[in-house]
Symmetry: C2
Subunit: 416 residues, 2 copies
């Protein structure tokens, strides 16, 4: 049954709207905020006063020809920070983000794939502490830790369920354990959804109401922002773009289906395809190498190796076909592409997706769907994980009384 809403929700919602207007339109005034948000001057004025008191916003200089209502406002970047962690099978990335969406510090550390989940989480907890020390972050201003990892998982409880791309993790209570060991609230989301929130919070999707972040890591997923809200679906596992069927009779996928996007074009599959063709005797610059991964295949492709180029382009082509389904199904205005492993072929992938979207979607001819690279680059999921914390604390939520959760994201430090 749908839940009702109430006045505190309206207050929080409008405060989120105003803070977003200030964040995205640096130097915006109360008058401009009222005009952009449709809120009355009085409402905007009250909310700004609250934000100033809480130290989240600062005033610039009063303009020569205007009163208080024309004073430029901007967020107080140092007022809050959030930690973002991306856990992958062999590496953990950690970033510290300020309230303005700027990365204060980033660090990567190798994780041993042989380690058990709790050992990995223990190591992450130590790294989080070290990174916060190094960043000189005021501990009382740290809202919490966001974690991005492969799904399936339950965003609401922070439990990770046997992700195919995180072997050995089976019903791991990630949020609970990491929260205990860091002392901060922890929120977990899948890597692609986190990346989408990051791009909306501080990247190239600011202001986009309907977009997808196509995330290429060990696996492939999509984070969905629909009608101005992150969309997670019935069990918070929406966005399994890697398991859209592209060829019902195609190669078996580890998910149990066949011909999924991931089975056709994950980085691992590209490498396997190159290996297979080299073993079959086809010529390639890579033939003389004992071992190579996706990065080497991409370099070979860009260096003119025909076989590597062929397989990279085929993967990009299939990714483009998947993007066509995504755009047709969700009527998106924007597709953002990013992820840890894309590296040197990011632009090649982007162009291929753009071409598919331009040539093959229902939208082609009627309107233009932008296809861009993530501004967060290879750290998209880690930046997204930190943004997830900011988003949970500050973004306007959908109505409904039950959803006012995660109120623990209120720092108790000196600035409050």
């Amino acid at each position: 049954m749908r839940r009702g809403t109430n006045l505190p929700w309206v207050r929080d919602y409008n405060q989120g709207v105003v803070l977003e207007a200030i964040r995205l339109g640096g130097g915006v005034s109360r008058v401009e905020i009222a005009s952009k948000t449709g809120l009355t001057a009085q409402t905007v004025s009250n909310i700004v006063r609250r934000l100033l008191t809480e130290g989240l916003v600062v005033e610039g200089e009063r303009p020569f020809d205007g009163g208080q209502r024309r004073v430029p406002l901007s967020v107080n970047r140092e007022a809050r920070s959030a930690v973002g962690v991306q856990i992958d099978v062999d590496e953990t990335s950690i970033v510290v983000l300020d309230l303005g969406g700027h990365v204060v510090l980033r660090r990567r550390c190798a994780t041993d794939p042989e380690h058990r989940p709790l050992e990995v989480i223990r190591q992450v907890a130590e790294e989080v502490g070290a990174v916060l020390d190094e960043a000189g972050a005021e501990r009382g201003n740290v809202l919490g830790v966001g974690v991005a990892c492969p799904g399936p998982l339950d965003h609401r409880t922070g439990v990770v369920f046997r992700p195919p791309n995180l072997p050995g993790w089976d019903r791991v209570h990630l949020a609970e354990a990491l929260s205990e060991w860091t002392g901060y609230p922890v929120i977990v989301d899948n890597d692609a959804t986190a990346a989408a929130i990051g791009e909306r919070w501080s990247g190239g999707a600011r202001g986009a109401r309907n977009f997808a972040f196509v995330y290429v890591g060990v696996g492939i997923g999509a984070g969905l922002f629909l009608e101005d809200h992150v969309f997670r679906g019935a069990t918070t596992n929406a966005g399994e773009f890697g398991h859209i069927t592209l060829d019902p009779e195609g190669p078996a996928c580890h998910c149990g289906s066949r011909g999924c996007v991931e089975a056709l074009c994950s980085p691992g599959r590209v490498v396997s395809a190159v290996e297979r063709r080299i073993r079959a005797g086809e010529p390639s610059l890579l033939a003389s190498r004992a071992e190579y991964g996706f990065a080497e295949v991409c370099r070979a492709a860009l260096g003119g190796d025909a076989l590597a180029g062929d397989e990279v382009r085929r993967a990009a082509y299939h990714l483009g076909c998947g993007a066509v389904s995504l755009v047709n199904l969700l009527d998106l205005e924007l597709v953002v592409l990013g992820g840890k492993v894309l590296g040197t072929v990011a632009e090649l992938y982007r162009r291929e997706i753009e071409r598919a979207v331009e040539e093959r979607t229902m939208a082609s001819g009627l309107r233009r769907v932008r296809v861009v690279l993530s501004q967060a680059g290879e750290d998209a999921a880690a930046v997204g994980a930190a943004s997830l914390v900011m988003h949970t604390a500050f973004a306007p939520r959908q109505a409904g009384l039950e959803r006012a959760d995660l109120s623990q994201l209120t720092p108790v430090g000196p600035s409050v």
Copy 2:
């Protein structure tokens, strides 16, 4: 830029929530509504008083052991009605729906595919008047006319853009023309989205927060209900499920792409495939017939004709593969199947989709995704079009000041 919200919005939202609770839980009391919606007893009481004054709700008998707060409430079915129209290439269906979601009257009439759009709309306007007379509907209680037709179209303006499945309709101002000729407000939506709203309003998706209506008509589409709200996307053309790519190198689709769901399993493609194989000399009960359509192919398939059965099952199989993508991408709890042409093979299609969803989605093993047939049967889109009017007038809307549109759906008749 995101828009703020205000107190009148909260009032409307909660009124929508309460009306929905009464509609879906016939005989529910104020106490039960408060418990189900999370609203306070006072808020529920105020809203119910307003609904009683407006005549939208009626009280049953006071129970022996309870006070006013335990009086059963139900919607006053006759208080409002809405007309639903489905326009297809060769036929128009019209229904009259009451506030309880019951079909008061239904009618079909042939439309000449040679007629120009404005002639068709003129004919529809006359039929709407005749149907309302026949239903004995109090004109002052008629909220408006909903129209479902193939997309692409602009739901916001009611303009239809060259739908591939409605030849000759090119930028037709459908809502404007029909409103002028009927005297009622008119809302236009694509057939699948309308069908989804209908199923949520009065069918088997009551209470479902995340579901899709897979609509099989001349074309194939999906209506999406995400997080309790109908989802229309950036240009109100979301749900082009028929143009998910199932085979990038497959048969050309009229949309400009290849191997789309629609290109592989629209009813017309099934008939073409049967014709092709019969011409190639394969045996079939249909070989002796000069002319046959999808209905005849389905009857032959159910009658044991191997060739027809083969093609019908292949179409259902591909539809199932598309549904797997849909469920994986959107993490749905429910898929509803329906549409005008499904007829006798509806259950066969349903089983095939259910099997694909059970065997091939990421959700399999973790949770159960239901696959059901539409309760509205072949009239799903027409019932949906009428529900669209009810939904627009009464359903809780997402927050945001700009979206309080279509306020013209307030009857000025005697009951108000």
